[in-house]
Amino acid sequence: MAENVIIKYGHFSVEPWRMQDYVKQHDMNEAAVNKIVKDRLMYLDWMHRQGANRILKGFDEEELHGKLD
């Protein structure tokens, strides 16, 4: 667990010193971060709406008992 919660540009952010060994953080300004967050929310919203249209209904009680019998 991280010792501190870092918030940069209004969003949770990893502490920069943790990004030194493998890949380093790249130059990213506030507008770029906000665009990523906005795109994610739009995509998740769209994805959930798609899912809601496609989720199959589970067994109702009668069918469930029928299966169990």
């Binding site: 920069p16 790249h26 300004n29 507008a31 971060v33």
Partner: protein
Amino acid sequence: MEILSYKQFYSDPVKKESPISDELTKDCYAVFACRHKFCREWCPVYVEERNESYSSYGMHTSVLALAKGQANLDEMSQEFIHCLECGQCELKCPNTMFAGDFYKYSTTTVDLVRKMRRDLYAEGIKYEGFEDVQKVIDEHQMYDQGPDADLTSWAEGLDLPRKGENVLFVDYYNAFQTREVPIAAAKILKAAKVNISILDHPAITTGELYETNLEAWIEGAKRNVKALQEAGAKTVILVNPHEYSYFVKEYPRYVGTLPFEVVFITDFVNDLIKAGKISFTEEYNKKVTFHDPCSLNKLCGNFQAPREIIAALPGAVAEIEEPVIQWKYCCGNGVSSAFRKALPDVAYKVSTTRLRHANDVGAEVLLVACPHCKDMFTEAKVKAGINIEPVHILEVVAEAMGIGRS
């Protein structure tokens, strides 16, 4: 607005017989190691070609293969041209979408493709069809060296001053090939009583040059910023979304924060409609849909204004797919026209797929906000025989205002 997100180590060129930097290797390994492959599923090129090499995953893997000595640079001539630079892969990549804001580390395929095209060009490795791309670059460089009068000939009779706070920036493509678009823009803004001016001599901005000769392109960027400053610009209005994406995302990298506000024409016109400065007198009784330009929707996250403009058009019946769905669409031209020039058959397939989607929503008119989209769709419509008319949104606004299509 400026959207800055870039990796400094991309500026180290990839060369023959020279090791690839550790950072670039790790960067590409991060995408290679990913098994989500969300980048692939909506890639307009992958959808048509079904060749994984031509996905974001494939392109990063190719660079990794170079780094590991399992491929030669000479074998990469056709690899990086198979990208529209639309940015769909970046939007769908979990590394960008779910972690980018947290780690400040994201997938930047468009930058990688542009970098690799530049590096291959510098090494003398050219893709098939490069001659046609070179012709475009030569043509635009000729315009740049040509007289001012040619560059502003589209504005003849419009009586536009050369200095002012609101400058309409018109690139060479619009000035020479789709001049009906800047003419419509100028007419709309004048009718709304906005004082606009234009530059005497805008410098070269073409994306094909950006991918071949970076220094020359940066030189053009510097000249444009200087000229706009000297013209007294406080707001620069762009009529080409490709140039808008360059001003918003690329210029600040090379010339720093811009000393003026950059606005796309649809945003500007939409604000005028909301402020009651534009009123419509004619009905546009058509069933329409709208195609989001990649450079506006995907690269800059700008999609609201055209929808609001269309909603305000009297008589128009609109069925517009939401911006997320349109991440998977492209007109086929690509953000740099190199793709269309080098791969006209693939561009045609991408374009007809988009036209068929427009047909599916029952539209008779496909509104666009990009001159390149209009050109590409017009060609595909004629070749494919799909009965949908691609029309630029500014032409429709001008028509509904009663000032006529240009």
